[in-house]
Subunit: 201 residues, 2 copies
Amino acid sequence: MPTRNRAQFINSLSGFKSANLIATQDKQGHTNVAIFSSVVHLGASPALVAFIMRPDTGQRHTLDNILETQVYTINQISETFYKQAHQTSARYPIDDSEFDMTGLHCGYLDQVPYVKESSLKYVVKLKEILPITLNNTQMVIGEITDVLCEESAITEDGYIDIEALQTVSVSGLDSYHSSQRLSRLNYAKPNIPSHEIEPSK
Amino acid sequence: MPTRNRAQFINSLSGFKSANLIATQDKQGHTNVAIFSSVVHLGASPALVAFIMRPDTGQRHTLDNILETQVYTINQISETFYKQAHQTSARYPIDDSEFDMTGLHCGYLDQVPYVKESSLKYVVKLKEILPITLNNTQMVIGEITDVLCEESAITEDGYIDIEALQTVSVSGLDSYHSSQRLSRLNYAKPNIPSHEIEPSK
């Protein structure tokens, strides 16, 4: 298979992927924002989240900034700005902020840049970078310190209705999807078939 | 926040998650199948895929089997059997196969068990287990060796239309979603705004 076809194919295998923008800045305050489809939940206590850094992409600026400032934000991408989010993957020169280039707006929480358009975003403090020597990638692990979310999307049991926030998902390299809830299911127990539970809100 | 509410909340932050069943067996041929929402694409060449193992769950049998046999399958979950897939998260005794308990059907490719109900599944050979000491989890990394997929879902450019396969996604701990494609976008370049591309099929 040609390289790009192979990339499409293998990227499709893992299933639907999260769609997030990671916003960073260097010590001089030059901002950067880049799209990642590899953000993955690691654990709730402590609240850890990880993403995969590839060595061969324009996303390198993201890691340089994180190493400099030790802090970043992860911003869920929604239907209203997914094309601008995708555009951040273009290889802009280091002096160009993807905020300026794509028309996304930069806000700050405690001097950490975030994407104003995002309805659910959070500040992450770098904890560890694990090298994955098998393919020269790195897993960047951080701890979530502050969450900015529309209160109406948070249900009584803690679940955040990210579908109501119009959060999108990605498949392959370039396909974006909205979602439709099938149901929320009960906490599974032996001898009780899984069944739908009432939404809390 | 109570522990489970906190788990719901933090699990919602990473965005939509992939929904997969991992099928394994021990050396005696006792099968196991367990649901994972942490399967993540690592790279296309070599074709590497990873998932996160938590120490405190019934999923432990999955890792024991992988350590014994060095091989497993990852099976995308679709709308037609997501409730049975969810049910695999119940803590069954080690002697009970989740296949028998949930009514899912076990097939074999080169003696590796897979989920017959899944329209897209692949055989993975264990490559490395990376300990994540921050929260006592492990990243299990494997190489994809064989893919079983309905041919009609594979487009000319290598992209697999997993929406056509009715693959679902997960949010939080227990919410399952079908998808609706917004669009596929072009390979992003500076000075050319992201735009929709024709589907190849």
